[in-house]
């Protein structure tokens, strides 16, 4: 499988990374190089094989329902590029 330029743009938008006109063809060829590298996998017989969900046989541990965190707005906001009155601030989002 290989991708065309339109697909490169669509993926870039899905990933929210702007790609310039000049960059796109290079990116396309690099992505296609990687896709052709992984192409051989399509020939592997995976009939009846379970996809891996955990490399080790273990159960997910759960925590008790207790309030053990939060109440640290200063820490939460400390690195914010823009903040106001305890909120993060972003350009207006139109609903």
């Amino acid at each position: 499988m290989s991708v065309d330029l339109a697909t490169v743009r669509r993926i870039a938008h899905l990933a929210r990374i702007s790609v310039s006109e000049a960059e796109a063809p290079y990116l396309q060829s690099e992505i296609n190089a990687i896709l052709s590298f992984v192409e051989e996998l399509s020939a592997v017989d995976v009939e009846g094989v379970e996809p891996m969900t955990s490399v080790l046989p273990m159960r997910m541990k759960k925590r008790a329902d207790e309030i053990t965190d939060g109440f640290i707005p200063e820490k939460v906001l400390a690195n914010a590029p823009a903040r106001e009155d305890g909120f993060f601030v972003v350009p207006k989002v139109i609903e």
Partner: protein
């Protein structure tokens, strides 16, 4: 005065305990060495005041007879570990200036045990790379240099490997007694091999991932890079342990790994996987491997040929699984709550500009690949299939171990280190092939140890890799020690970087 930077971690520990040296004295030596070694670009941030303050506290502890396992030992921390109050960037522009208000579980364990922090080590951006050339803060240069046939040392800059290139270079250049590193596809073991140091990627779940910037969650694992097998064992004991904040961390007691270092390997069964004899593998790598086999046999191990038939699919499958997870893990870098923000005409524009500028080329490329393989219509063909192949890869190992094999010996890398800019500029896959021997271990969640085995024809280190059973790092340390004892001492060229 003797150069304290030449001590191993174990030696320094013993001298501190015997009060032959002070922690402040020891740390000052490293602080000075780092200040002189800026040409290696191994550190992104240096924290000499912190190291010395911690060292003073250590000296007090030692004086009171309350020394902890790593009391006063100066370490470098890969800049993928969150360190409270100290900039943590993952070597990315997008996190430049980020000061975590929290400390990673692994580094917290090290400070608990008395270690000191010299600074934050350079790496490939978001741990994506095999040469440390993708860092936003510039490439790390290896202290190693090529030697021509006539014995002349070339001044071409050599890569330290990646992504833990800063960790490997700093340990090799004696800028710290040990370093934290992380390994997603070989990022501890390949740079260790390239710099003549020892690196272990423990079993998945052995160290907490809490507070380590995520690359590919199902593959990422923390581990140390050190000068010797013993040093690596000492460090891993402090780094490892169960953490309820990481659901994938395992609640299994941490053994005293250092004790395992001196254990006999007599009767251990060592598997030699035939699939690792790749076509076109260089003769010196084949010779190194044979040598390693001979050393283990001489030390009393039994050598057995084994087959791991799905080996060749591991690297392609890795280049689906890792970018897919990364594309999602790196979605949080959006310019809203921390890190770089580039303003745009609306929120979508802000995202796209921030991420285009904040991520380097390799990271953008992997996010794109990962996004593509997860996108509608491609998930089954790529991601799901790759995870099934992972099951097959793991099964290969399970069968080998079930047949009585204790560990597996392979080369660490298909070649010695190369010069900066020499690989991967035209074709990203060329660079990816560096991980061909290491990546299977991550895909199966197993422990892998790399120790130096010798030098290449051009005078660069070559490493051997030992792959163990899950949670049997002790076996790896015993075997690694046997190799280390047998192998010739790897001597770093005299310091040129001061």
């Amino acid at each position: 005065m003797t150069d304290l930077t030449r001590l191993t971690l174990a030696e320094a520990r013993d001298k501190l305990a015997a009060r032959e040296i002070s922690a402040v004295e020891l740390n000052q030596c490293f602080v000075d060495a780092i200040a002189r070694a800026t040409s290696l670009n191994a550190f992104i941030v240096e924290t000499p005041e912190k190291a010395l303050a911690q060292a003073r506290a250590s000296d007090e502890k030692i004086a009171k007879g309350e020394a902890r396992p790593l009391e006063g030992i100066p370490l470098g921390i890969k800049d993928l570990y969150a360190t409270e109050g100290v900039q943590t960037t993952a070597a990315s522009h997008i996190l430049e200036g980020f000061i975590p208000p929290y400390e990673s579980a692994v580094t917290a364990n090290l400070w608990r045990d008395g270690a000191t922090m010299l600074g934050k080590l350079n790496l490939d951006e978001f741990a994506m790379g095999s040469s440390n050339e993708t860092s936003y803060f510039g490439p790390v240069v290896s202290p190693w240099r090529r030697k021509a046939a006539d014995g002349r040392i070339s001044d071409a800059k050599i890569v330290p490997g990646g992504s833990s290139g800063g960790s490997a270079a700093a340990v090799a250049a004696r800028l710290c007694l040990g370093a934290t590193a992380t390994d997603t596809g070989g990022s501890i073991r390949q740079p260790a091999a390239f710099t003549g140091t020892v690196g272990i990627k423990p079993t998945y779940g052995r160290c907490s991932r809490w507070g380590v910037v995520a690359f590919a969650s199902s593959l990422d694992q923390a581990g140390p890079i050190a000068k010797t097998v013993r040093d690596a064992a000492i460090l891993l004991r402090s780094m490892a342990g169960h953490d309820p904040r990481d659901t994938t961390s395992v609640d299994v007691p941490v053994p005293d790994y250092e004790q395992a270092v001196d254990a006999s390997i007599r009767g251990k069964v060592i598997g030699i996987p035939r699939e690792y004899r790749l076509d076109g593998l260089s003769e010196e790598i084949v010779a190194l491997w044979e040598q390693g086999i001979a050393w283990l046999r001489e030390a009393g191990a039994e050598i057995r040929d084994i087959s791991l038939p799905h080996t060749r699919h591991a690297l392609p499958a890795y280049y689906i699984v890792a970018p897919a997870e990364a594309s999602s893990n790196l979605a949080r870098y959006d310019g809203v709550r921390y890190g770089l923000r580039r303003t745009g005409k609306d929120i979508a524009d802000l995202y796209e500009k921030t991420r285009a500028e904040g991520f380097g080329k390799e990271v953008r490329r992997r996010i794109m690949i990962g996004t593509y393989v997860l996108s509608a219509g491609y998930y089954d063909a790529y991601y799901l299939r790759a995870q099934k192949i992972r099951t097959l890869i793991k099964r290969d190992f399970d069968l080998a171990y079930a047949s009585g094999v204790d560990a597996i010996l392979t080369p660490a890398t298909p070649s010695p280190a190369f010069a900066l800019g020499e690989k991967g500029s035209a074709d990203p896959v060329e660079m990816y092939l560096n991980d061909v021997f290491t990546v299977t271990v991550n895909m199966a969640g197993l422990p892998g140890l790399v120790v130096p085995g010798g030098l290449s024809a051009d005078g660069l280190p070559l490493g051997l890799q030992l792959i163990g059973r899950p949670f049997e790092e002790e076996t790896l340390f015993s075997l690694g020690q046997a190799l280390e004892r047998a192998a010739p001492a790897i001597l770093l060229p005299e310091s040129w970087w001061h």
